[in-house]
């Protein structure tokens, strides 16, 4: 009998990248449904545009780099990038803005750095920051949640699609009629205008913790996040780090001066905090790699989000916080190497 050669081990590996990415996508379905429920069909079009351009960009770059495109397409990582970008954008976003972000994310932030596994920066956040800086006006069209008591002009599916494709509203509608400030924006402008946090929180757009609608989406994002933790795709280190990094300074400042500082619950439920904690900061490629390192990385992001929201000029700071901590990853990885068994030094805590 003749046999083939192969190196040990002779047991097939358990998971695969494509499967992980699909589960990440699945975990975001409830949040997407909630988003459409509260803010209209805009997200669907954002998802479509971002998805198409991200996949085309991925395939094109693989082809340009002389590799088989289907290898990259089968890992679904481009789709995850597209979905995170679509979630970050306002529900009314013209297609070219979304497309620019998606292409920049996949082509520049990912493939020009060497493709999957080699990107230093979180691709979705690079794409988002690029369009945030390049198209500040277009990124301001946040709509109000569909709540019965809010005086607000809703767009139909067709009107939303028309806006996505042309960037124009129906002639009868002005931008002011459809767009509303986000809760974070409102908080920032209000505080700048010397209103107290409590006064601002009394506005009908504000909900129990964050903004109306937003806090529900946050709940569904968290649901997906916990599901990923149960599936062991996300470990607790980064989400906990982000939470602690943000909530500790928020709580301290709130206790010092509740008038000038929104409550920690507001910070948690407003903006992209929860999405960041479970889905954005947890991108393994651009995050720190040891468990301790990941906790520190999360702490850094949480604190920077707080700092940018409080002292910066942007209403939310997730994208900048993530990109800044991406830069710190090599240093974090270097100082947080676990002690190898059998080497002198601190005994492992088996965490």
């Amino acid at each position: 009998m003749k046999f083939e050669r192969r190196a040990a081990p002779f047991i097939a590996p358990r998971g695969d990248v494509g499967n992980i990415m699909l589960q990440v996508l699945a975990a975001l379905v409830p949040a997407a449904v909630a988003h459409v429920w509260f803010f209209g069909p805009g997200l669907i079009f954002n998802l479509l545009v971002a998805g198409i351009f991200a996949v085309v960009g991925e395939a094109g770059m693989m082809w340009a780099r002389g590799r088989r495109p289907e290898i990259a397409l089968r890992d679904y990582s481009a789709l995850v990038t597209a979905v995170l970008l679509a979630f970050a954008l306002p529900s009314l976003t013209p297609w070219w803005v979304t497309a620019t972000g998606a292409l920049f994310a996949v082509v520049v932030a990912k493939h020009l750095y060497g493709g999957l596994g080699f990107n230093i920066f979180n691709p979705a956040m690079v794409g988002y920051v690029v369009v945030l800086v390049a198209f500040p006006k277009e990124l301001n069209l946040w709509v109000a949640p569909r709540m019965g008591d809010l005086d607000y002009q809703h767009l139909s599916i067709l009107q939303t699609l028309t806006f996505t494709l042309t960037g124009n509203l129906p002639e009868t509608l002005a931008f002011d009629a459809v767009s509303r400030a986000t809760p974070l924006d409102m908080m920032k402008t209000g505080l700048n205008n010397m209103a107290t946090a409590i006064e601002i929180r009394a506005h009908p757009l504000m909900g129990d913790f964050g903004g109306r609608g937003w806090e529900w989406i946050g709940n569904f994002v968290a649901l997906g996040g916990f599901w990923l933790m149960l599936r062991k795709i996300v470990q607790w280190h980064i989400p906990a780090g982000v939470g602690i990094g943000l909530l500790v300074p928020a709580t301290l400042m709130y206790l010092l001066d509740p008038g000038a500082n929104p409550s920690p619950a507001f910070h948690l439920f407003a903006g992209a905090t929860i999405l960041c904690a479970f889905f954005i900061a947890t991108d393994p490629v651009s995050a720190a790699t040891s468990p301790r390192g990941r906790f520190i990385y999360g702490l850094g992001i949480g604190f920077l989000v707080y700092a940018i929201r409080t002292w910066g000029s942007y209403a939310d700071g997730v994208a900048f916080a993530v990109l800044i901590m991406n830069m710190a990853v090599p240093a974090i990885d270097y100082v947080t190497r676990p002690r190898i068994v059998g080497h002198a030094g601190r005994r492992a805590s088996h965490g």
Binding site: F3, A8, V285, T289
Partner: protein
Amino acid sequence: MSAPTYDLGRLHGGLRLESHKRESTARPIVEVPVPRQLILPIQQHAGAPAQPVVDVGDPVLRGQVIAEPDGEMGAPVHASSSGTVAAIRPWPVARRHGEEAPCIVIDCDGRDQALPAMPAADYRSMPAADLLLRILDGGIVGLGGAVFPTAQKLMQARTAKVECLLLNGAECEPYISCDDVLMRERAPAVVSGAQILMQALQIESCCIVVESDKPAALRRLADELARADDERLTLKQVPTIYPSGGEDQLVQLVTDREVPSGGLPIDVGCVVQNVGTAAAVHDWISQGEPLISRVTTVTGDGVASPQNVRARLGTPVADLVKVAGGYRGSPRYLVMGGPMTGKSVTTDRVPLVKASNCILVLAEVPPTGPELPCIRCGDCAAVCPVQLLPQQIYRHACADDEHALRDFGLIDCIECGCCDLVCPSHIRLTAEFRKAKWRMRELADEKARAERARQRFEARNVRLERERQARDAELARQKESAKAAGPEAIAAILERKRRARKDDPS
């Protein structure tokens, strides 16, 4: 079974694997008949190969030494049956590098005649040093797979004054069950072996360690310990988690002490022996039978009826598979050892050796798509029992960055294969690490060679300088003597030189 699961020192990471042991433990151990031809590699142990002490055509008897250890580290090889030495030649064997190794081939005569048995001496009355020498003569090596010569290990342990002997019956690797069935069927031999080993080591404490998934073996051993009534012996159960049976991992689990990097269990007061080794020590010291056979598991979905067999060393693997019902279909891989750390071979002509704890025949390993880039998910680091960061080591291995590889502990990798199994990108991490280690060793050898060359060169320069000085001194002396001889003598010397130059135009 009442023994509590012993979990004092916890292991980092590790994996719970599908055990696949049931297939081969259903039936008792079967004796494989002596084959027509035995193939005995002269190296079946860690250290230098043994030197053959028989010639082609020599008749040999069962138990006769046919190769003697060469140097400080090694073990003799015995003829596993009687017959004639047919050849001493290269033969396919299971090894990591290269396909063949020198073997002594014996044509068996079928009579299986043994050497006259050595007078059995009571080991209890033997001085420990004599007992150690006796164990050395038995050709006994670690039967868990690492084949470290047992006598040398015991001598090191005595020099280091260890306190505790651990008998390793963890057998954590899937499919392998030879230690399990051995403990069930030969518990008295294991216990007696443990007592002999304690005597050789002059210590008063031995702990038999078994994984919790072997209740039958645990029960048999507990009964046997009760019968032996020896308070020096204890039985401990460790959780079923791969690789708890690694030598250093076992020490960590049972004693909560970490074997220092590059060190041995003796550095933390322990010495570890496989339960099969203990039984072999018993067979040799109490029964006079050297290590000429072993129990091995023939298993996998490529054999008809998986089975534990006892066979003479040197029996071709094809014969073992025949006893286990032959091949099922046309399997693709033949592995010597378990599925995590075994070595694949291309032919079943390879012989059973002291290291062979398992013959694994696999129809197929599920294909794993193309290898994707590492996404730094860190799953590999989470399961690494030595707490390495395989994802970082892999990166440095790809870059061939020797300094970083040292820094990140490549040498501490025990090649257990856990990281491969959890890698979502399907990267063959362990194979890469093995290659990187090999390259590092080669680099070190090269450096050593360069260093030797440098020393030789410098020594040569020193010698040349010394010779030049000697020559100068001689010339000066000749000049002095010529001067002393007067002007005519100098003229005669110059004339002689001129003539010599004319004769030799160069």
